[in-house]
Assembly symmetry: C2
Homo-oligomer: 144 residues x 2
């Protein structure tokens, strides 16, 4: 027995709790609303650089068709742009536009205001625990 029932229940709780947090944050209005799928895609494009539909679909654990639709909508809004792959004619590389980067920054601020207020209620040690947890959640997400 590697994981106790208590441990497993805690992780389910983690997902339920974070699901709620995501929904609450989505409700925060901005000049230009971004969904969390869009936020995730834009964060990845800015951190990793140009990526194909297949890359992004794998990274976000959705089907390529789904990712294609989401990217098409974002392209329509001018948040991202497509560019043919230099050597592989099948692939299309997506990058953030200047407007995409700017929008990402602005929308981030509105959500950060709310988060900062919520965060300020926690003790410093608790804040540190949350920061440590981020890296662990990322590790778990990378599990096959």
């Amino acid at each position: 027995m590697n994981t106790t029932p208590k441990l497993e229940a805690a992780v389910t709780d983690l997902l339920v709790a974070t699901g709620q947090l995501l929904r609450r944050l989505r409700a925060i209005s901005n000049t230009r609303k971004l969904t969390w799928s869009q936020v995730a895609i834009m964060a990845r494009l800015e951190e990793v650089g140009p990526m194909t539909i297949a890359d992004l679909a794998r990274a976000e654990a959705v089907k390529p068709q789904s990712m294609g639709g989401t990217l098409a909508a974002m392209e329509e809004e001018g948040l991202v742009e497509r560019r043919p792959h230099p050597t592989d004619g099948r692939q299309i590389l997506f990058t953030l536009t200047a407007d995409g980067r700017e929008t990402r920054r602005k929308v981030g601020l509105a959500k950060q205001e709310w988060l900062s207020a919520a965060f300020a209620k926690l003790k410093p040690a608790e804040q540190q625990t949350l920061i440590s947890a981020v890296e662990l959640i990322r590790k778990i997400s990378d599990h096959e």
Copy 2:
């Protein structure tokens, strides 16, 4: 300055990372698939007891109309059932059906298998950090 930039970035990362985790877990197939909205509603009904549409909408930070639609679909599937409020004729109380509780248990198992494997890769101290983080995320979610 109560929160450092590093702290704020960490929380955004938390949301992006958990968003990915949620998407990955949704892809896990079961005999009967539940969305994470459904999982959250069912967890709440089992823990808190009978709740109205307005109660659940507030708890999950969505509009009553949205919650009404989701609950109607779940009722159609036999996961929840409605009952008039004993004294207030406007309100409707929702509870889990026996099938809802059973489904919740089964679907939970499939996701738990994946989580257990992912969890087993972490060190005990890291697992403990994640458990502690759950309560903190809940605290943050309760912020107005």
